[in-house]
C-alpha cells in the first residue's frame, strides 16, 4: 500500500500579512513558509499508519504544486518522515488548476490513499481535495477525522453534526482531512533533517491547465474599533447605544 499526502506551501501563521501598494497581491517579501497545518497533520497520520502497518504500507509520498521556492517545505516534509516527494513545477493558481496538475502528474502512478487537508491556511478555498477526486475519478470522503487500517479494509471516520460516521471506502480513494486526524504535527529531528538531503524529490513539468479564478483585489480587514464599556447596571444606556450608535436594534 502507498499513501500520498498533498502539501501546500503557506505563509507561517504568525505572519503579519501585508499587501502590495496597488492591493493586487499579497506582499510575500520576508514571509516564512510552512507546511499547511492540515497537511502537516495528514502527513503525521500517514506516517503513524505506516509505522504501525507492519510493513504493509510501503511508502508515504508527499506532493505539491509549486515553484522552486516550495522546496524547503518539501524538504521539511521529508525530514518529518515522508519517503519521497514530487513537485509539479508551477505556480499554484487556484484549486481547479492545482487539482488538474496533481491528477495529471499521478496519471501513471498508483496510490491507495490520497490525503488532502480540508483547506489551506492561506486562501482557505476548501475545494482542492474534492476536485482532485473528480479529476482522478476516485471516491472521496470529506471531513475525515480519523483513518484506521484494519486488515485489507480502510476505516474512515467522517465528522457529521453531533457525531461521526464510519465509512469503508473502496481503494484507492481521496480523504479530505480535518484537524482531528492526528494529535499534533511531528517535529523533525536533526537526524531526520540530514536524512532528508538524501531522499528523492522529483520535479515534474506541469500540464496545460487553466485556472477558473481571477484575483481582482485584496483588502485588509478594517482595524478593530475601540471597545466602549457600559456599566452593568446601565441597561438604558446600552439599549440607547445599540439603537442609535451601532444601529443594530
Amino acid at each position: 500500500m502507498k499513501i500520498l499526502v498533498c502539501i501546500s506551501n503557506v505563509p507561517d501563521t504568525t505572519t503579519k500579512i501585508k499587501l502590495t501598494a496597488d492591493q493586487s497581491a499579497v506582499d510575500l517579501a520576508n514571509v516564512q513558509w510552512i507546511i499547511n497545518p492540515w497537511d502537516e497533520l495528514a502527513l503525521t497520520r500517514a506516517l503513524e499508519l505506516k509505522e504501525t502497518s507492519g510493513g504493509k504500507i510501503e511508502k508515504v509520498t508527499v506532493m505539491t504544486v509549486g515553484t522552486q521556492s516550495a522546496e524547503p517545505t518539501m524538504r521539511k516534509a521529508l525530514a518529518i518522515g515522508a519517503d519521497d516527494a514530487i513537485r509539479v513545477n508551477a505556480e499554484p493558481q487556484d484549486a481547479y488548476f492545482t487539482a488538474q496538475q496533481i491528477a495529471h502528474a499521478l496519471k501513471d502512478e498508483h496510490y491507495d490513499i490520497i490525503l488532502c487537508g480540508i483547506e489551506s491556511s492561506d486562501y482557505n478555498g476548501s475545494a482542492m481535495g474534492n476536485m482532485l477526486s473528480e479529476f482522478m475519478e476516485l471516491p472521496a470522503v470529506s471531513s475525515v477525522s480519523n483513518i484506521e487500517i484494519d486488515g485489507d479494509q480502510v476505516k474512515v471516520n467522517r465528522e457529521i453534526p453531533g457525531g461521526y460516521e464510519v465509512v469503508e471506502p473502496e481503494l484507492p480513494f481521496v480523504a479530505v482531512v480535518q484537524k482531528g486526524i492526528a494529535k499534533e504535527p511531528r517535529i523533525p529531528s536533526m537526524r531526520g533533517i540530514m536524512m532528508a538531503r538524501r531522499k528523492p524529490l522529483k520535479v515534474v513539468e506541469p500540464a496545460e491547465a487553466e485556472a477558473l479564478t481571477e484575483f481582482v483585489r485584496y483588502e485588509p480587514p478594517k482595524p478593530k474599533a475601540a471597545c466602549k464599556m457600559v456599566d452593568a447596571d446601565n441597561v438604558e444606556e446600552l439599549v440607547e447605544l445599540l439603537h442609535n450608535e451601532a444601529k443594530i436594534i
Binding site: T14, P72, M190, R191, I193
Partner: protein, 397 residues
C-alpha cells in the same frame, strides 16, 4: 506564553542561512513552544529540571548535532549548532546549558580525544539522551585559574586512583558519566571518564541558586576512586584539552544569548504597543522607544557577530580569542536587554508571567561560567597586546 514569538531580523540575516538551517530552527522552535514554554516558569520557580527534557532533546537531536552520524550525531555544521542553541536559550538558559554541556563538554572531548571504543561506547547513548554527561573542571579553590587544579590521578599500574573535588558542575547530580580533568603523576592535565556507581564517587546537589533554577548544579567528589586505564582520554595531555571543550561551548553560548535577548525584546515590543498610559501606548513615548531601539541595535550586532563567527568556525578559522569576544559581547548584550526590557513592563516585568526576570537571573550564571566576563576581556587584551594580564603566576606559566 504571553505573546507569539516573532524574533527580529532587522538586517535580513535569514538570507544568509540555508534552507536547512531554517528547517532546523523551526523544528527546535516548535519543540520549545510545545515542550518548554508551558512548564519552564514553574520549573524555575520550583528550582527543578524536568528530566523528560533530556529524552526529548535526544529525540530532537539537540545533543551533538555536529558529531558525525556514525556516532549518533547529525553531522551538521556549526551554524546549525548555533541556531539550535539560540532557539533553546529562547526557552531558558537552563535548557541550552544542558545541551551545551552534553554536546560541547562531554561528546566533543570523547569524540576529539577519545579512543574508538570510548566513542562507540558513549557517543550514541549521549546523543539519544540515554546517558547524561557532565564536565568537571572547576574546583572549590580554582575557578578562573583551572591550571592550578588540585584533583589528581595516581598511576597504580593496572588502574588510576582519582582524588579531589569539583564544584559548580552542571548536571552532576543527574549525570551517568563525568568527563573529569585531573593532573597525573607528571603534573600534566589528563581527561578521564568517571562513571556513576564507581566506589568513592558522589555528586551532591548545590541548592538555593537564584540563577539557572531550572538547571541542576552540583559537586563531584572523588575519594580514592578506581579509574580503569581504558577510561582515560588517550588523545590529549595538558590544559589545552579542557580549553578546546570550552571553546566549543562558548561558541554555542554566544549564539544562545541572542535567543534570550530576542525573547525579551519580542515581549517588550508587543507589550509596549498594547499597554496605555496617559491615553497613549507606552511605545509612543520616546524613552520607551530608546530602550527598544537600542535593544534591537545590540541584538542585530550580536546576530551578525555570531553569524560571521559561524562561517569562520565552519572553515576551521575561528580563533579562541574571537570566540571569547563573541561570548563576552553577546552575553552582556542579553543581560542588558533583559534589564532594560523588563523596565518597559513596569511591575508586570517582575512577575513570572513574562520571561525577563528569569532570563536576567539566568544570564548572571551565563556571564560567569565558561570564563567570566572579566576573563574574556583579559583574553582579548592578551591577544591584541601580546601581554598576559592574568596575574604574576599566569605570566610565569
Amino acid at each position: 506564553m504571553p505573546y507569539p514569538y516573532t524574533p527580529p531580523d532587522y538586517y535580513l540575516l535569514d538570507e544568509l542561512l540555508s534552507d536547512e538551517h531554517k528547517i532546523i530552527r523551526s523544528a527546535v522552535r516548535d519543540w520549545v513552544d510545545r515542550s518548554v514554554m508551558p512548564v519552564i516558569e514553574e520549573a524555575a520557580q520550583n528550582h527543578e529540571f524536568p528530566l523528560r527534557f533530556i529524552r526529548e532533546l535526544g529525540e530532537l537531536g539537540a545533543f551533538g548535532p555536529f558529531i558525525p552520524e556514525k556516532y549518533g550525531g547529525a553531522g551538521m555544521d556549526h551554524i546549525a549548532y548555533g541556531v539550535i542553541m539560540t532557539e533553546l536559550e529562547r526557552g531558558d538558559s537552563a535548557i541550552r546549558s544542558a545541551a551545551s554541556v552534553q554536546t560541547s563538554l562531554v561528546m566533543y572531548p570523547i569524540y576529539t580525544f577519545g579512543s574508538e571504543e570510548q566513542k562507540r561506547k558513549y557517543l550514541p547513548k549521549l546523543a539519544s539522551g540515554e546517558l547524561i554527561g557532565c564536565f568537571g573542571l572547576t574546583e572549590p579553590n580554582h575557578g578562573s585559574d583551572p591550571g592550578s587544579m588540585e584533583t589528581r590521578i595516581r598511576d597504580m599500574g593496572d588502574h588510576y586512583l582519582l582524588n579531589g573535588a569539583k564544584m559548580w558542575i552542571t548536571n552532576s547530580p543527574i549525570a551517568d558519566i563525568a568527563v573529569v580533568w585531573a593532573k597525573d603523576d607528571d603534573g600534566k592535565v589528563r581527561g578521564l571518564i568517571a562513571e556513576k556507581g564507581m566506589k568513592g564517587f558522589s555528586a551532591p546537589e548545590t541548592r538555593n541558586k537564584w540563577s539557572l533554577r531550572a538547571s541542576v548544579t552540583g559537586e563531584l567528589v572523588f575519594d580514592n576512586v578506581k579509574i580503569p586505564k581504558e577510561n582515560i582520554l588517550p588523545g590529549i595531555k595538558g590544559l589545552k584539552g579542557p580549553l578546546m571543550c570550552l571553546n566549543s561551548a562558548r561558541y554555542g553560548i554566544a549564539w544562545g544569548a541572542v535567543g534570550a535577548a530576542t525573547d525579551c525584546y519580542n515581549t517588550a515590543l508587543q507589550y509596549s504597543l498594547e499597554r496605555k498610559q496617559f491615553d497613549q501606548p507606552i511605545a509612543s513615548f520616546q524613552l520607551q522607544q530608546k530602550k527598544l531601539a537600542e535593544a534591537l541595535t545590540e541584538i542585530t550586532k550580536a546576530q551578525l557577530l555570531v553569524w560571521r563567527l559561524g562561517v569562520l568556525k565552519n572553515q576551521g578559522k575561528a580563533t579562541p580569542a574571537q570566540i571569547s569576544m563573541a561570548k563576552r559581547n553577546n552575553v552582556e548584550m542579553a543581560l542588558k536587554v533583559a534589564r532594560e526590557t523588563r523596565q518597559i513592563l513596569g511591575a508586570m516585568g517582575i512577575t513570572g508571567d513574562f520571561p525577563m526576570m528569569r532570563h536576567m537571573m539566568n544570564l548572571e550564571s551565563v556571564i560567569t561560567y565558561e570564563g567570566t566576563h572579566d576573563v574574556h576581556l583579559l583574553i582579548t587584551g592578551a591577544d591584541i597586546t601580546g601581554i598576559n594580564a592574568f596575574g604574576i603566576k599566569a605570566k610565569n606559566r
